[in-house]
Amino acid sequence: MFVICGPKLSICGFIISIWGIIMMGLLGVFFLIKSPLLLEDIPATKADFEERAKVDAIFQQSAYNCWVVAGVYVFVGLFSYFQMRMNSRQQYVVT
């Protein structure tokens, strides 16, 4: 495996990924249970609010979106983790 990120970037990526996985995972759950607080965050137009089913669908879509993001960050996190390992190994070889 190649070393693409430096030690700092990979640590940064790793931390942000963990944060992203937890936060987006939870946010997805909250969208799924249709938290009224998140009403202003969903991409629904005024017309959508006429029909309850539409709003429900949008909530569900938002939940899936969040989990997709969380999934992406799982990969980013794994990648950063391996980069971190490679970097630390390199350091080990040098000193």
């Binding site: 607080l37 979106n65 969040c66 993001v69 992406v72």
Partner: protein
């Protein structure tokens, strides 16, 4: 008294050390690090002291070691840090050390000069080699041209080169010089040549591809080989001058190819020989440095310890008989046993038969302040100390700061999400304490964060708590227990009809009055339009309550000071009126805040009187007509009583203390008051300390700065005392009002923090969530890192710093001004450990 509440009890002690045992004893004391020595000959300058020679020798040793260290670092050899801490070597070992360092340094210097000479030689030869190789091609080219071109053309070109005077003459003898010049100098060199010789020289150059090493600096330099053709001696000397000016090195270059070849072969063999010699020198140097690198840390420690010991010995007084040294030092009373033990050990080490004597002295001088801290409390003590070091045995605010500081910070930083991140960061630093301790010691910012790791951890933990109270989690509320408000009974028509619906808490189907949200703010407020209005009222009241509590606690602490310093007059005439004044005005305000919260529920809240108006009217003695506008019956009388009581406190603060002082003075008794315990800055009072049982006649005259305390008892000035008291009283009374207002920053900053995090959510993360379909996922993925980075940069670092500063101010000004003098001076013990840390 080994607590953080007051500083350690200190005593001035006299040490009698046998001259032969003094060194060993001081060494032991240095390892112990509990003794602060006083300079007993302050008027003797540094060069006239007894051990100045030894200190100089140590300086010399350190210089040699630094030289060696520099060489080691330059050679890229790692210096092993074994963590070993050798004791200070006995004085006789110093000669051995000196000899070792001397030998090493000389060897190093010799090797360095040799190596430099060799390298210069090598450079010259390499340059010559390059010249021979490159010029070869020039000459070949020239010959080639000679053969190719017809004579007429050749003549033409020469003619052009040489100008008019030589036209038509016989073929000329062209002279040339060859040399090497720095590549960056070449363009100017060329132009200079052209101008100075009016274009009558011909310059050819090529670059040397491999960089050459400069023998002096060791840098890699790029150079060029050049060859200049010219005609005549005058031009030759001119060219040579220019070459010299440009630091070009000229080398002799034979004219015929055969000679050149021969020379090249000679140069090559010499280079090879030189290379082997150079390699050997390099190896030798490396070996020397590696062996030095193994020991250099230990040597440094030893040299520094010896130096510190002699430096300390210089502070001592010599006895008349020259048999013993006399030292004076401050030491904590609780540790006297350990100091005695160390002295005994030192005496044993030196093999002296006469024991060292430690003798306690009494003094009028203010002892230094010494708080025994550990790694947890030291950061909080540092917060207090940076305002002012506590006066000797004064109540130390640090133990209370441990709780109140992170708490007040958290009130301003109330967001559980941000608190969580901060707490995790702090936890990580505490967790990896040992590993992190040795890393990146020289990084200033990191050192600040790492030094405050326990503060950060606590601030984070408290912020999680206040975050749950405010129900803020990255500006969103969590509905953990289920909101007490319900929309179930509101008809769909109403919802469709109105943009906004008012939830009336008096309707039981909407609000369950007997079961409020169990912990913190009801999450429904996060959606309410009047959220800020509601929160402002709550947070402002909370700020005032916290402020009044902390200030009255501060005043109570001042009582502890008065009692400790046996000042009953102040506890009656200052403490009681101060507390009454604060409680009558702002304590009453806190009381009616609580009363209003309890006594008025939703059904009658519309007719509750405004607290602010009530308070203002209280001072104007203006009272409402109707009975409904009163908070409680008998309010009028009680409020008038409180105001009068508060006003009555002012003359008490003003006059009682001066009166008692005046009476005591009149009756001829010396007053024992807090003020007479002299608190002085270290430097000014250095030589005022006097052994109490010493004869009055032998007393040295106190310096002019130190007199005020003594004089006060002799010339009693009632006017001055009155003015002093008046200033303090006015300061306190006005302070009470302005400080209470100052606590409103708790509300202002927490509002700012909540709003900022809400803005960050809606401006950044909302963009991602606001896209329809799967595009939303893509955009959110891209936007989230921005959200994370901005959260850390703005909300955690920037807002955190501002909340930190405000919490700091609330402690320094609002809290500590009530009881803390902070006029002491720090106890700085003679300690090898601190010495080594300074050097790292």
């Amino acid at each position: 008294m080994g607590s953080l509440f007051r500083s350690e009890e200190m005593t001035l002690a006299q040490l009698f050390l046998q001259s032969e045992a003094a060194y060993a004893c001081v060494s032991e004391l240095g390892e112990l690090g509990l003794v602060q020595f006083r300079d007993l000959n302050p008027d003797v300058n540094a060069f006239q002291r007894k051990f100045v020679n030894e200190v100089r020798r140590c300086d010399e040793m350190e210089r040699k070691l630094r030289f060696l260290e520099k060489e080691i670092r330059k050679a890229g050899i790692p210096i092993v840090d074994t963590g070993e801490n050798p004791d200070a070597p006995p004085p006789r070992e110093m000669i051995d050390l000196e000899a070792t360092f001397e030998k090493l340094e000389n060897e190093m210097k010799e090797v360095n000069t040799n190596q430099e000479a060799l390298k210069r030689n090598f450079l010259e030869l390499t340059e010559l080699k390059h010249i021979l190789r490159k010029t070869q091609s020039f000459f070949e080219e020239a010959e080639f041209h000679h053969q190719m071109q017809d004579p007429a053309l050749a003549e033409e070109s020469h003619a052009l080169l040489l100008g008019d005077e030589e036209r038509g003459g016989q073929p000329m003898r062209l002279g040339f010089v060859a040399g090497v010049i720095n590549r960056e100098r070449l363009p100017t060199f060329e132009r200079m040549l052209w101008r100075a010789c009016r274009g009558n020289v011909f310059l050819r150059q090529t670059e040397i591809e491999t960089p050459l090493e400069d023998p002096v600096t060791g840098d890699q330099v790029h150079k060029c080989v050049f060859i200049i053709f010219f005609q005549g001696d005058q031009l030759k000397s001119r060219v040579k001058k220019i070459c010299e000016g440009f630091r070009a090195t000229l080398y002799p270059c034979p004219e015929t190819p055969a000679e050149r070849r021969e020379m090249a072969i000679g140069v090559m063999t010499r280079i090879e020989d030189l290379q082997t010699v150079l390699n050997q020198t390099q190896d030798h140097r490396h070996r020397v440095l590696v062996s030095a690198a193994k020991n250099i840390r230990v040597w440094f420690i030893k040299a520094r310890k010896i130096k510190a010991i002699y430096h300390t010995l210089n502070l001592f007084n010599l006895d008349v008989t020259q048999k013993c040294l006399i030292a004076e030092c401050w030491c904590p009373v609780a540790d006297l046993e350990r100091i005695q033990l160390a002295l005994r050990r030192g005496t044993e080490h030196s093999g002296s038969s006469v024991p060292s004597i430690l003798n306690r002295m009494t003094t009028k001088q203010a002892p230094p302040t010494y708080h025994k801290t550990n790694k947890f409390t030291s950061a909080f003590q540092a917060i207090v100390d940076s305002y002012g070091v506590a006066s000797y045995c004064e109540v130390n605010p640090a133990p209370f700061t441990i709780i109140t500081f992170p708490f007040l910070f958290a009130v301003m930083f109330g967001d559980a999400g941000h608190g969580l991140i901060m707490a995790l960061f702090g936890l990580w630093m505490v967790w990896r304490e040992k590993q992190l301790m040795n890393q990146r010691k020289d990084d200033g910012t990191w050192a600040i964060f790492f030094g405050g790791r326990y503060i950060i951890l606590l601030m984070g933990a408290f912020s999680i708590y206040t975050g749950f109270i405010y129900n803020d989690f990255f500006s969103k509320s969590l509905n953990i227990f289920g909101s007490s408000w319900s929309m179930a009974n509101i008809s769909d028509e109403d919802i469709e009809k109105y943009d906004m619906i008012e939830l009336d808490p008096n309707v039981t189907s909407i609000y369950k009055p007997r079961s409020p949200y169990p912990f913190g703010l009801d999450p429904i407020w996060n959606m309410a339009e009047n959220k800020i209005t509601f929160l402002n009222s709550f947070k402002m009241k909370m700020s005032v309550i916290l402020g009044v509590l902390q200030m009255s606690f501060g005043i109570c602490l001042s009582l502890s000071n008065y009692r400790f310093f046996k000042d009953p007059v102040s506890s009656v005439s200052v403490f009681i009126p101060q507390l009454l004044f604060l409680l009558c005005i702002f304590g009453y305000m806190v009381a009616i805040i609580f009363y209003k919260w309890i006594a008025y529920d939703a059904s009658i809240s519309y007719k509750a009187p405004s607290l602010l108006i009530t308070m203002i009217n209280m001072f104007l003695f203006k009272f409402p007509e109707s009975q409904d506008d009163y908070l409680y019956s008998g309010q009028k009388g009680f409020q008038i009583f409180l105001v009068l009581l508060a006003v009555a406190c002012v003359p008490c603060m003003l006059f009682i203390k001066p009166y008692f002082a005046w009476r005591a003075h009149k009756s001829g008794k010396r007053t024992v008051r807090f003020g007479t315990v002299q608190m002085q800055v270290n430097g000014a009072a250095e030589d005022t300390a006097v052994i109490m049982d010493q004869d009055e006649g032998e007393m040295p005259p106190p310096p002019p700065e130190g007199v005020s305390g003594h004089k006060e008892e002799e010339e009693f000035d009632i006017g001055e005392l009155l003015i002093y008291q008046a200033i303090h009283t006015i300061e306190f009374c006005l302070g009470c009002i302005s400080h209470t207002a100052s606590y409103l920053r708790l509300w202002a900053l927490s509002l700012a923090h909540a709003q900022l995090s809400e803005v960050l959510w809606s401006m950044v993360l909302h963009i991602g969530l606001g896209f329809q379909g799967w595009v939303g996922a893509v955009v959110t993925t891209l936007v989230f890192p921005a959200f994370a980075v901005l959260t850390i940069a703005i909300l955690l670092v920037m807002e955190g710093l501002s909340a930190f500063l405000h919490a700091l101010r609330l402690h320094w000004v609002e809290f500590q001004s009530k009881f803390y003098k902070g006029e002491g001076h720090q106890f700085v013990p003679f300690s090898f450990e601190a010495l080594m840390e300074d050097h790292n």
